[in-house]
Symmetry: C3
């Protein structure tokens, strides 16, 4: 069985400029390593500034050249002038997936009323699902906890490897017809 | 009083190709026949493949030539490469109605976490409300149960006939100023 | 400290044509005057018809010429042919803020199932947050109550004055790092 290729993109002027230490990539790798039981994971990590052309070219490289099945971005989704991750993501989209943004905001609203300021989107490009996540490790965990149950079946539908999760952490949902029979 | 003209469009490569029997059109007609008390219904039914130009031309025909007040599509709203019903629907829109998609996903989330993978949209074109529904009869019923209370007033606002429902099944809501006086 | 400049735009063919009295502007000023504790408020009020070019030029004037930090529109967000406020708002946007529309509809759904017919959007243009609100004073209050807690921090992030609210009415939320120290 082929590995699951996951792109992780931390978008931050300050972290990429060395002003502070990036916390997004370690938080994402830790969460994914705990939750995904199989197949084995190959990570492609990128730490880049809040520049729309760089975000777009990074997403294109990860999907088109590296063959990622899943790309998670962190950072750059707020209302500030430099926050352009959603625009860059939509620019490379084949299809928009509005339910992810809606559900991530609904989940975050349980914690903070400013969750509605997050402009996160998710899209399909070729064989990849790209999801924007918030910048803070705590918020990354909360939103992934809230949407990841739908990710394995989504990856099935776009032709990627069959993902199994540690069910005590996240119980992936598939219709019965999409379940692999047990060995 | 003029009849209510409803277009029903089942979008499926396999059902339209005869690989299996279409279940979407019968499920929709059954639901509408039970719930709508008046006026009388005229159905225009179409079973077509997941081809964006065909979906678009079918919607245009139903709204512009046949004069439908309401068009319901079923199928083609997922993330797979062949799922293009939302794109075709947006392409013929005068106005987007984002609340329908949001509410249909929120309703379906009570049943399955993969509801966020559904990309359903609703739009206004001329005198018609067009709503994308899921493909499975069970999910069609769940989502119509969740949004149909708003449909009669929406049809009022775009100039269509006054719809009355069987209130034990769906209680249509209108502001008092929009209620017809009882005879 | 500089004043908070707020544009209030009531969009209505009938109120702007003198057919009935505008209730949107007074309702908005009353609500804002009660809820915002500081800084002082400067209002720019406009009563205009449901004409997309007029709505767009009014928004441009309020943001680009008058320097408003916040612009609230009321009216013109339904499905009817003359309802074009969301389209005009999106046409002047630098960034879309989808969480506001989602949350306003979710809040209104607690009151009426036809809340999903409201097509309200919010956007950022330059230094301003622009939010579409419903037309009825009761619905204006309900939706502002539901989203305003996120507005002060949003205005911070786009460079505007530090808004403090009467916390018994609306408790503004900011992350600790964004709180001004008490004097």
């Amino acid at each position: 069985m082929s590995n699951l290729r996951i792109g992780i993109v931390s978008v931050s002027d300050r972290a990429s400029g060395g002003v502070y230490k990036d916390e997004g990539i370690p938080a994402l790798k830790e969460w994914l390593g705990r939750v995904i039981a199989s197949p084995a994971l190959d990570f492609e990590e990128r730490l880049i500034p809040d520049e729309r052309p760089i975000i777009e070219s990074t997403l294109l490289e990860l999907v088109d050249m590296k063959g990622c099945h899943l790309v998670l971005t962190t950072g750059g989704t707020g209302p500030a002038r430099r926050d352009v991750t959603p625009e860059a993501t939509l620019a490379v989209a084949d299809k928009e997936m509005p339910g992810f943004g809606e559900q991530m905001r609904a989940v975050s609203l349980k914690y903070v009323p400013t969750a509605i300021l997050s402009r996160q989107v998710a899209v399909i490009r070729k064989q990849a699902l790209i999801i924007n996540l918030p910048g803070q490790p705590k918020a990354i965990k909360e939103t992934l906890d809230g949407v990841f149950a739908a990710v394995p079946y989504c990856i099935d539908l776009i032709g990627g490897p069959y993902i199994e999760t540690n069910e005590s952490l996240v119980k992936a949902f598939r219709p019965k017809s999409a379940l692999k029979s047990q060995p």
